[in-house]
Symmetry: C2
Subunit: 378 residues, 2 copies
């Protein structure tokens, strides 16, 4: 990536398939999740999620403090979120799979913030659309099977009282100059955008506020959200809270292998309601391939799996690393053809989506069980 | 006043005793309340409040539209507010007396916004102090005897859900550039300050929002709050509401006759809990006098009542204009001495304050009757 590549929550450029993420981590002041850290995590979780094994979640801030607290029996909680600006696609969903895994392995509370106010302030969406995306996205997320006892969906406009009253504590320590330098805003941006990061900071300390005692927060998020939480980490000690820790993922690339999977371009992303035929067609037609142009060449020279969209998604959906190694070798050597790789991944994706679709129907009537309420912590 | 005199809600300079308010009205794009308008008001109210008679409320925007709506039987509502940053003094209270009069004469709903969030964002106050000032100020305001059926105290942090969800509609139309030019902010100001004007705009349309039909809003306020409502008027049509109308007052000057009566300088203001002796002492010692240096000179040359603090307050507390004229003439001619003028006004003030103090005790147990709730409009 170039030095001046932009990585803000709303404008993402320069983060391509061959990005050197260690440089990004450095630039962002985060630490790479190295072998030692992976081993430490595995010592608590028993196994490693593919997202850790294959470095999708590649960096962290103060993850060690979370694990310290956990090992002392103090516990912690998870906080992640979703801006409901459209239908969810695979790229949106995968990080939630990882968060679900963290919740299960550590048996902790999880706050999922749905930032409908953000999308209102940043996009030209009306409240009807926002409400529809909000309900729809919540169902998609819950279809992954979060623990209903410990999962707390916080829709911003439904919790705006609690959020605003706590956000002003944060806002007092963020000036316009800082917001400009961190988010790339200018004077033509609306004042709601400037204020919003304070709202997004609240869940990172709200449990300490509600419980009346400090409890650490771990935030899994994609790198584009980093500016928000970097600001939050700077402000927290000034208002009497611990800095939240973070575990940071790369983007799930678009089918084309570069850029983020997009909500607006139907040819670059796989939607959760795409049927088996559509998924297969999209992969066949659009998925960036590391294979050769012809079957003959592929058999002769083999593929480059590292830059292949299908292989990269396949390994995230396969828990057994020996299977992944075998497929890697077969594809690398040319035994496996590009179309076969695509078909295999398409099947994996469709199996996942069909399972989620069934769960979605089941969870439909129980959404209220998952909704955030301060009473649930008392 | 000089052309570049600042009149923002937080920084007030240039508004001295001899200010040419018609120039200010012009500059602010407001209209002077002229004789015809006063007569029209009196045609509904029967009499004129001293604040109108003596041009304390001296300007307006679209007051005629309010009176049109009223005469068509459509009704309107009042909205005013208070930032709870300290004990209230006489200068704070007098505009509420006028608002109470408007409520009584037109028998309309009144929303009183208590902007504790504003004071949190703009001052270095902790929430303990803010809560104390909030309760205390509410009691002071209610001691004036508002109609409990139609008065709605909206404490921002107690209604922040409703406020934030509506404020983001406003915020989307206010950019940093506008906030800077209107409020004199710069990049070192915190993002909460920038956002706050959106919160203050909400009560000017919230009743239309709650009732689901347009109802006009009239906002009585002192000139220093004008930037907030000028912005609100610009934004309202963009989000589907009528522009609020306003009726605008001069500042009640400090005892010294210049500048605003201040909360922080105990020698320039009269607090609501000042006893009779203290009020008299403050007036005797500090009240700016239009009289002469000695009793002899005063008898010989007479006073200038127009610049005399005591006379100016006296006439606001006297409903009978013939009494005011008589006192004016006596003071002007030298019959009345400066000390006598001060003593008379001190008595009037103390009579008022003692009455309020009794009401304050009575209203103490009924505060909840006055608190804002959307249910009260349904």
């Amino acid at each position: 990536m170039t030095e001046d590549a932009k990585v803000t929550p709303w404008e993402v450029t320069g983060i391509l398939g061959d990005t050197d993420y260690s440089k990004i981590a450095d630039r962002f002041g985060a630490k790479i999740i190295d072998r030692a850290m992976k081993e430490r995590i595995a010592s608590y979780t028993g196994d490693l999620h593919p997202f850790l094994r294959y470095d999708v979640f590649f960096a962290h801030r103060d993850l060690d403090l979370i694990l310290d607290a956990y090992s002392r029996g103090e516990g912690f909680y998870l906080y992640t979120g979703r801006g409901p600006s459209g239908k969810m696609h695979l790229g949106h969903l995968l990080p939630f799979m990882f968060t679900r895994w963290l919740q299960e392995k550590f048996n902790v509370d999880l706050i999922i913030q749905i930032t409908d106010d953000e999308k209102f302030l940043f996009r030209d969406l009306n409240s009807g659309d926002l409400n529809r995306y909000t309900s729809d996205n919540i169902l998609d997320i819950l279809s992954l099977g979060f623990n209903p006892e410990r999962t707390h969906i916080m829709v911003d406009t439904l919790n705006s009282g609690l959020l605003y009253n706590n956000a002003i504590k944060v806002a007092r320590h963020i000036n316009v100059s800082l917001a400009k330098s961190v988010f790339g805003f200018d004077d033509s941006d609306n004042v709601g955008k400037y204020f919003f990061t304070s709202i997004q900071a609240v869940p990172s300390f709200i449990l300490s506020e509600i419980l009346g005692r400090p409890i650490r927060c771990l935030i899994p998020y994609a790198i584009d959200q980093d500016p928000h939480f970097k600001v939050a980490r700077d402000v927290m000690p000034k208002i009497g809270y611990e800095k939240p820790s973070s575990i940071i993922s790369k983007f799930i690339p678009s089918l084309k292998g570069s850029g983020k999977m997009s909500s607006s371009d139907t040819t670059t992303g796989i939607y959760l309601d795409d049927d088996r035929k559509t998924v297969r067609k999209k992969l066949m037609k659009y998925a960036f391939s590391g294979g050769r142009d012809t079957a003959d060449e592929q058999r002769k020279y083999g593929a480059n799996p590292d830059i292949d969209f299908s292989f990269n998604v396949f390994r995230l959906l396969e828990n057994d690393p020996s299977v992944v190694s075998r497929i890697y070798d077969e594809y690398r050597s040319g035994q496996l053809l590009s179309g076969e790789m695509k078909a295999m991944t398409a099947d994996r994706i469709s199996n996942l989506l069909e399972g989620l679709s069934i769960n979605r129907e089941k969870v439909k009537n129980n959404i209220s069980d998952y909704m955030f309420s301060t009473d649930r912590f008392r």
